[in-house]
């Protein structure tokens, strides 16, 4: 008998429906799986057999031909275990076929018949809903993320036997639902707070501007001055994710398998801090069937690169394109996929290899050629994409003991949210999300300068020798400062602050820019 069970696969961030066709006939016992299966799919033959037997059922006799259609796309992973098992049992009338037509099945089988979680359930369910599918049978641990798709009835499957009972109408399984509004209304709680960082008011101000406009930021300072502490607290002052943004981030985490069964919707802004030995593929994503890299996992959040010059040159250079385009397209022989990558780059570095160059208290031991070589790891084009550069000096003894804590993250977040609100209104007609992502057309339209501000900018360009891109970046930062100030036009003080952030970069890295 011939049975068709629906399942699905992933190509990048998009799911597509896969028909699992099972045909059985009498003769010598055996199974063959066709339709470009990879090793994990072929192995499902053994898992399915053991799972069925260990569920207390006789494995149906006969020869099974299992086809995964469309047959010209490679199938990977263990997600087909459950549909194959259902197909085999249905072909021998052990399962009724009433539900099979408009239901997709996803899940890996354990040898004892339990259904194990799989990756990518959310994007698959979104695609399934678009294809007119009404019901999704998913592993219990994935049920919450699948339930984010309102159009589908989500049946959580705990084990094979329970599922058979449900499909035959003998047992009732309550469809799993989650209240998106409730999940989303909860204000994200952070364990960290910016008030924990002593002093460094200059740096905190710069972080506030960076968070308000989505600007990339570079922090230069001696070891132990608080660069990492500051960076880790950046997400706490960023405005909360919108529902659409949260869903998109959740999708990315779903396909990488990072979602836990408790944490269904990612409501916190991601903070990714890859080690400096990470490869270029690890950063942008890749693999035979491409998976998202760190830039995509930091989507709508922060990508923090500590010890910036210690990253290999290749890694730093691959960042350039996603920084400009806000997405990465990965091409491989088999497929080409695009992952979103709209992140804020936060980089931290020492001013020289020993870390003490320019410090008030300790002497730098590095010969000048060593400093030169250290800084040369950063290319001009990359530094050009950094809007804000600040120095984070070491705190003096008195500061450490007596310095006041300053504002809490939530106080700053309120100001940042207001500035972001102004930007949303400004760019409501376009796809631009923040000042940092403005296109030249908008820069011309939105950056209205007062007369003295214009004069100041002119002289800054003259004296500092800025590139065209740097000029645009200064304007963008100035606009964010104006937004924080609640001002409609860019004043002289706004330009002065923006130029100052640029100036440090030029001074520090004069040898390369």
């Amino acid at each position: 008998m011939f049975v068709k069970v629906k399942s699905a696969a992933l190509s990048g961030l998009k799911g597509y429906i896969v028909d699992v066709e099972v045909d059985t006939h009498k003769g010598l016992p055996g199974q063959s799986i066709v339709g470009l299966p990879d090793a994990a799919v072929k192995e499902s033959r053994d898992r399915v057999k053991a799972a069925v037997s260990n569920s207390g059922l006789d494995f149906p006799p006969g020869y099974f031909t299992i086809n995964l259609a469309p047959a010209d796309i490679k199938k990977e992973g263990p997600v087909y275990d459950l549909p194959i098992a259902v197909g085999i049992l249905a072909s021998h009338n052990i399962i009724r076929t009433t539900y099979l037509k408009d239901t997709i099945f996803l899940g890996e089988l354990s040898l004892d018949g339990a259904v194990r979680p799989v990756a990518g359930v959310l994007p698959i369910c979104i695609e399934a809903a678009k294809n007119g599918i009404k019901r999704a049978v998913v592993p219990k641990d994935n049920a919450s993320e699948a339930a984010l798709v309102n159009e589908l009835e989500i049946i959580p499957a705990e084990d094979l036997l329970g599922l058979i009972g449900f499909l035959n109408g003998e047992a009732e399984v309550k469809p799993h639902t989650v209240d998106i509004e409730e999940l989303f209304s909860k204000e994200p709680e952070y364990e960290l707070d910016l008030s924990e960082v002593k002093g460094q008011f200059h740096a905190k101000r710069a972080l506030e501007i960076a968070a308000a406009g989505g600007h990339n930021i570079l922090m230069i300072g001696p070891p132990g001055s608080g660069k990492t502490m500051l960076a880790k607290r950046l997400p706490t002052i960023m405005p909360p994710l919108s529902l659409g943004e949260a869903l998109e981030v959740t999708k990315l985490y779903s396909i990488t398998g990072f979602l836990s069964s408790r944490n269904t919707l990612v409501t916190k802004r991601p903070f990714r801090s890859p080690h400096h030995t990470t490869s270029d593929i690890g950063i942008v994503g890749g693999g035979r069937l491409p998976r998202p890299g760190e830039v995509s996992l930091a989507h709508f959040g922060v990508l923090f690169l500590d010890e910036f010059p210690e990253f290999s040159r290749d890694v730093l250079e691959v960042l350039r394109q996603p920084l400009e385009e806000n997405e990465v397209t990965i091409c491989r022989a088999l497929t080409s996929v695009t992952f979103p990558a709209e992140f804020m780059l936060v980089a931290a570095m020492n001013p020289c290899p020993c870390g003490n160059y320019g410090d008030r208290l300790r002497e730098c031991q590095c010969p000048s050629w060593k400093i030169q070589r250290y800084l040369q790891k950063l290319s001009g084009p990359l530094l050009d994409r950094i809007d804000i550069c600040i120095e984070v000096p070491r705190l003096g003894k008195e500061d450490l003991v007596s310095c006041p804590a300053g504002e809490t993250s939530s106080q700053i977040r309120q100001r940042v949210s207001k500035a972001r609100q102004r930007q949303r209104e400004r760019f409501s007609a376009s796809k631009i999300s923040s000042n940092a992502k403005m296109t030249p057309k908008y820069i011309k339209k939105c950056c209205l300068l007062e007369k003295p501000a214009e004069e100041l900018l002119k002289s800054a360009v003259l004296h500092l020798g800025m590139s065209g891109r740097a000029y645009d970046r200064v304007l963008k930062v100035a606009l964010t400062v104006a937004d924080l100030d609640g001002s409609q036009v860019i004043r002289e003080s706004h330009i002065a602050e923006a130029v100052q952030y640029r100036n440090i970069l030029i001074q520090k890295c004069s040898s390369i820019i």
Binding site: G27, L28, P29, G30, F59
Partner: protein
């Protein structure tokens, strides 16, 4: 094959044959040979046509006899089975590969175990 192990095999087959008969199986053929393989016993168990491989041990071995039927042996049994089906023009029957293991323990007590659906075609 030494005379000794041949005798052991023949003896085991006879014991297996009697055992299956006592289970109510309908015996069809013994020692069916094809060009590249052989099956010890072909019998009918209800709706199934069963190809049985007999493993007779002179001592209690470790591990299951299913494990003792290795890839080459499986291939030989499968070849013989498909040749048999072809020859007899049988297509509308569910088939099964079973393994029956026989050994005597130290007290000389006979131990017979039947493993149904021991392996499948790959």
């Amino acid at each position: 094959m030494s005379i000794q192990s041949k005798r052991l095999g023949d003896e085991g087959e006879q014991i297996a044959y009697d055992h299956l008969l006592s289970l109510g199986w309908q015996m069809i053929e013994r020692n069916f040979h094809s060009s590249q393989g052989e099956v010890d016993i072909i019998a009918k168990d209800g709706q199934f046509l069963v190809f049985v491989e007999v493993k007779n041990y002179s001592f209690a071995s470790f591990g299951t006899p299913v494990g003792a039927v290795r890839a080459a042996k499986k291939k030989s049994i499968i070849h013989a089975a498909s040749t048999y089906l072809h020859k007899k023009n049988i297509s509308n029957v569910y088939c099964r590969f079973d393994v029956i293991s026989i050994y005597r323990n130290f007290e000389g007590k006979m131990n017979i175990e039947l493993y149904k659906d021991a392996f499948q075609m790959n």
